[in-house]
């Protein structure tokens, strides 16, 4: 049952594809059908928008008691990222010692395996993030 549910969001999950409102220029991730600022005026005016994938860490946590489908990756870093276009997104930060992650560090999107999902064991892919300039600081 889960396969179709994940497939439908594949494009958004693979490439940080969200929406932009042609009226107020607001960008949104995940994609929206209606702009929360412009409401009904935005109907039919929401365009596909690809985020650059660059942003900053707003807050983070190291997850030691994982969701079951991530048990093999624990502990992992989960963070809220402020994308440079101005929207927030939740994702993992990978490719580094979790202890060096901090608020305000710059990150960029990478494409990775997310998790093996549920009983069917289907592997899900999508965006994660990595620190930029690791080692130079």
């Amino acid at each position: 049952m889960a396969v179709a549910r994940y497939w439908r969001q594949q494009e958004q999950r693979y490439s940080l594809a969200g929406s932009k409102c042609a009226i107020c220029n607001g960008s949104f991730f995940p994609k929206r059908t209606i702009c929360p600022t412009c409401h009904r005026r935005s109907i039919g005016k929401m365009e596909k928008f690809l985020f650059s994938g660059k942003g900053k860490v707003v807050t983070y946590t190291i997850v030691h008691d994982p969701i079951i489908s991530y048990a093999d990756q624990s502990p992992y870093v989960l963070a809220v990222i402020a994308l440079e276009e101005g929207d927030l997104v939740l994702g993992q930060i990978v490719d580094c010692d979790p202890r060096i992650v901090d608020i305000d560090l710059d990150v960029e999107m990478v494409f990775r395996r997310l998790s093996a999902e549920g009983a069917s064991g289907t592997i899900q892919y999508g965006f994660k993030f990595r620190l930029m300039d690791v080692g130079s600081s």
Binding site: T59, V63, L78, S115
Partner: protein, 391 residues
């Protein structure tokens, strides 16, 4: 906003919370319901309607349609009394209570029984964590590895960064709530803990550890409500519902404008305070949603008890203890009383009723007039606030 007809609590009942291996969902539901009906001293034939708060019997027990099941068990299907199940993750109980109030206020019913129940321990703790995360956004949070505690941990880290809230202050919420729980015979944990134990406990999701997070619990709680004039005829100590408020916010935290508080708490409480015609300073006892310790810190700020950023220092000063300015989570809160998701919102009201009746035993606060309960669904997508008054 006002209620067309005023409403009061005339009876309360609940099971002990914890891992109740030997009893089924049906059995704990009926136990709480019958205690509440007995406490109200009414015949069950007088009940006009039933509401049940339950987050997910479907996931935990493969059983939906639990309102009919409970109605049957308490013997109310004979007269085909309307029975409705209400869901808003772990705010299901508070929302069910609100629906019962609105039912009476509308004139549809005079006497309503509202229950909340959850049976979580029939699955492993790992599975329970997964099911509980269904109260967050499956597509954009859980799929990326988020659990409910990890989402609160993100808010905790930001709160610490922005306001200087300390790890110790978070821990002191748990210490206080375990102390209160030690005075509550219905609590899941009735043992005091030290700050050192909290800080040394295994990490769940940094900065939160095992003692910062509510346990997996079974339990049920129930309330009998009546129209106020009828309540005065039926019982000697009715507790009036002075305010009810509900607010919502985006399901996922990344779609919110703020990560150090819950907008829905502020909206719900503003509506409840306005209906009651009182200020936060007039509340003397409150049950708030500490599914994680940061939840209590944010709640006491968002509810207007303390300035934004002063929630941690206020806890450290002892302002929220039984002897403090405003006693928070006298029952032990979700952390020590236990957190059977759908039952929590009802158990919170029960504690406030006990306090306002002056029957809270060793944890009784001195002469409270107003009490408040704040019940959060997931990480704040739904918040329900009620204000009760001793009359």
């Amino acid at each position: 906003m006002t209620l067309s007809r005023e409403v009061a609590v005339i009876g309360i009942g609940q099971t002990k919370f914890g891992e109740i291996w030997h009893k089924s969902f049906r059995e704990i539901g009926i136990e709480a319901g019958l205690r509440a009906i007995q406490d109200a001293g009414i015949e069950s034939s007088k009940v006009d309607s039933i509401y049940i708060g339950n987050m997910s019997a479907g996931l935990f027990l493969d059983q939906e349609h639990v309102a009919s099941m409970i109605a049957e068990e308490v013997g109310l299907t004979k007269d085909s009394v309307p029975a409705t199940r209400v869901e808003a993750a772990d705010a299901s109980g508070g929302l069910a209570f609100r629906q019962a109030i609105l039912d009476i206020s509308s004139g549809m019913s005079d006497i309503v029984v509202v229950g909340g129940a959850e049976k979580m321990s029939d699955v492993t703790s790992q599975i329970a964590t997964y099911f509980t995360a269904a109260g967050a956004d499956q597509s954009w949070e859980s799929l990326f590895g988020a659990t409910i505690p990890s989402l609160y941990a993100l808010m905790a880290r930001k709160h610490m960064h922005d306001f200087g809230t300390t790890r110790e202050q978070l821990g002191l919420v748990s210490v206080k709530n375990h102390r209160n729980g030690s005075l509550n015979p219905d609590a899941q944990f009735q043992k005091e803990i030290t700050l050192e134990q909290v800080l040394k406990a295994g990490p769940v999701s940094t900065p939160l550890g095992v003692f910062d997070c509510a346990p997996i619990s079974d339990g049920a709680a129930a309330i009998v409500l009546a129209e106020l004039d009828l309540a005065r005829e039926l019982c000697t100590n009715p507790i009036k519902v002075s305010g009810t408020g509900q607010g919502s916010d985006s399901l996922s935290i990344a779609n919110r404008t703020e990560l150090t508080g819950l907008k829905a708490t502020r909206a719900a409480s503003k509506r409840a305070y306005e209906m009651a015609g009182i200020n936060p300073s007039e509340i003397s006892v409150a049950e708030v949603h500490d599914s994680c310790t940061i939840g209590e810190i944010m709640a006491i700020e968002d509810l207007g008890f303390f300035e934004k950023g002063d929630g941690g220092p206020a806890t450290e000063r002892g302002d929220t203890s039984l002897e403090g300015i405003i006693s928070i989570n006298t029952s032990g809160g979700l952390k020590a009383r236990g957190h059977p998701l759908g039952a929590t919102g009802i158990a919170q009201i029960n504690e406030i009723v006990l306090q306002l009746r002056g029957m809270a035993g060793k944890r009784q606060v001195k002469d409270p007039l107003y009490g408040l309960a704040q019940n959060v669904g997931g990480t704040g997508g739904t918040v329900i606030v009620h204000i009760l008054e001793a009359i």
